[in-house]
Symmetry: C2
Subunit: 343 residues, 2 copies
DNA sequence: TTGAAAGCGCTAACAC
DNA sequence: GTGTTAGCGCTTTCAA
């Protein structure tokens, strides 16, 4: 089938070894044979057998990404962007990217990580959406398997990561609403267990406290990070008396869902009620009204985590580097004008 | 490092061959040795070396997906959903999924396909967004490399595909608007070269013609499939005199962008102007006003294309199967009421 | 029922 | 400079 070193060796009349060395660019091959070998290689259309190289080198030159997905209509734009980021960086360094999809915390996911951590599947892993007491991270740390996470944890585990400072981000957003005159600010939190959700929630509480504002327990609801969740949960917030004048959602998808429901109830977002999100997904600027949110450069984060992983794999970097980025506040119409200026 | 067959063989005191056969479940191993071997394998924590198996079997048990991406803020929700679909199906059949990202029609993409078509990278490929005169398909057909496409082509190439009948879908949508009383219907087409865009455009023209409606050239604009594109292009449509009473966008992302721009200009979607999209991305139901569109089951399409590919790889299916699905019309508020019922 | 031997395609230590 | 040899870990004749 495919052309092998042997074919070239036969054709040129040298040994397989020589061919291998010539093609690999070793200096101990005479210029003339090297040329003849190269010529033969191009003529025959030789390309190295990746699998054989891998077996020999005991490395796969492949990165793994086990993507947490949820059921059939799963379609979080985060992942397209993130994959584009890691994929591009990986390709730039001649790494392949293996993607595997599993529901978070499922048995399938656990197996996938166990399999990966055994080695031989990929040389390193990119892990996203770190969780409290994250078994994935625990496993990888324990087995000493190379990985970089997008996200931190609170526990004793130490590992390299890139993260967004959700606490600082949320502080900007909450402060923005407070500065606009809001005092009753509802919050739609992510499901328990996600680290970034925890930071976002914490940022909310802290900023409220810092401004001497009390938070009533019923102001804080938990959503499932999807547009459905946002729509579903916000309606309870709307029935409160007094009704919050602003609602912050811990991601844009939920904010968009919430906006939809709010407007369905005849209220105007950015007028009757202020709304904020987190992520700045590309659509955030194009919904009606455009969404005030915190911008995270997902593609860049993907690239950087991947670059970090590749550095680690090549022993080029102090282990356990930590990068913490600060999101930037993007104010759009959904936050509305100063509260007392409303008509 | 890792436990190999040899380790087990040593431990049990048999040959590597026997261990291999015992573990592979061949019948010609005595029950007792088989048990001893199995016990030793579990005890030592044996797992086969995938690379070695691949080299030996001359197949990778891996599927490739070369994802067409565009720059840094690329984030089309289509891809998360599609990858979730193919990934799940692949995993169910114990295939791995290799993902590579490249700009469409770029040199990098061409290289990726050439590399894949040489073999050894993946056993088969999933191709999406077929193009007119698609070099990728031409290459794969020529090299006889197994693949399944999501999308068809017009030319002589015959290959297995799953596709959505965009023409039929668009007909439903256009007819829907016509039935509502619209006569001046603008259309935002995808960039030249994409097959599905062609079908969608054709569906529009044909349905207009079928209803004896003429289409003025200035009603048809070309957008780039993103929310930006939709927003950008729709404004020219709005300046026409008479202004179209309805605008159809060839995907939801553009429709959402268009809706944004329309409302920015003080017009109300679903009232002053009707709007339709295509795809039914999960957010379509949650924008304001909710978008009338055509539903495509992307996840399912991913699963089915992947299943088809796996069948082909295992020689289980008549080559070049064609599946054509019909999208379903989802009417939401953006199409508005009957035209003459408007206030 | 078991084992020896060959080989998938490549690389590298070591001779010549 | 070049070839011999060995081996990465596995599977599969073939012979015993």
């Amino acid at each position: 089938m495919a052309v092998t070193l042997k074919d070239i060796a036969n054709k040129v009349g040298v040994s397989v070894t020589t061919v291998s060395r010539a093609l690999a660019g070793y200096s101990d091959v005479s210029p003339t044979t090297r040329e003849r070998i190269k010529a033969a290689a191009t003529e025959l259309g030789y390309f190295p057998n990746i699998t054989a190289q891998r077996l020999r080198k005991q490395r796969t030159d492949t990165l793994g990404f086990i993507m947490p997905t949820f059921g059939a209509r799963f379609s979080d734009p985060f992942f397209s962007e993130f994959i584009a980021g890691i994929g591009t960086e990986a390709a730039d360094h001649e790494y392949d990217l293996l993607v595997s999809t599993h529901a978070p915390d499922s048995e399938g996911e656990a197996n996938a990580y166990r399999r990966a951590a055994r080695g031989g599947w990929a040389d390193g892993l990119i892990v996203v959406r770190t969780r409290e007491d994250d078994l994935r991270l625990r496993l990888l740390c324990e087995k000493n398997f190379p990985f970089v996470a997008f996200g931190r944890t609170d526990d004793e585990l130490d590992f390299p990561y890139v993260d967004e400072d959700s606490e600082a981000g949320m502080e900007m957003l909450v402060q923005h609403f407070i500065d606009l005159g809001h005092r009753h600010i509802g919050f739609i939190a992510p499901p328990q267990g996600l680290m970034f959700g925890r930071y976002r929630l914490r940022g909310y509480y802290q900023t409220m406290a810092k401004n001497n504002l009390t938070v009533l327990p019923e102001w804080v609801m938990e959503g499932d990070m999807t547009q459905h969740g946002g729509a579903h949960v916000v309606k309870d917030l709307l029935t409160l008396d007094p009704r919050p004048t602003a609602v912050i959602c811990s991601n844009d998808l939920m904010a968009i869902g919430a906006a939809n429901r709010i407007q369905q109830q005849g209220l105007m977002v950015g007028k009757d009620i202020a709304l904020g999100g987190f992520d700045d997904i590309p659509l955030a600027a194009f919904v009606t009204p455009p969404l005030t949110t915190l911008h995270q450069p997902i593609y860049e984060i993907g690239r950087r985590s991947c670059a970090m992983l590749i550095n680690i794999l090549n022993g080029r970097v102090p282990q356990n580097e930590h990068i913490l980025l600060t999101p930037s506040l993007v104010v759009r119409e959904s936050s509305g004008p100063m509260l007392y200026e409303r008509r």
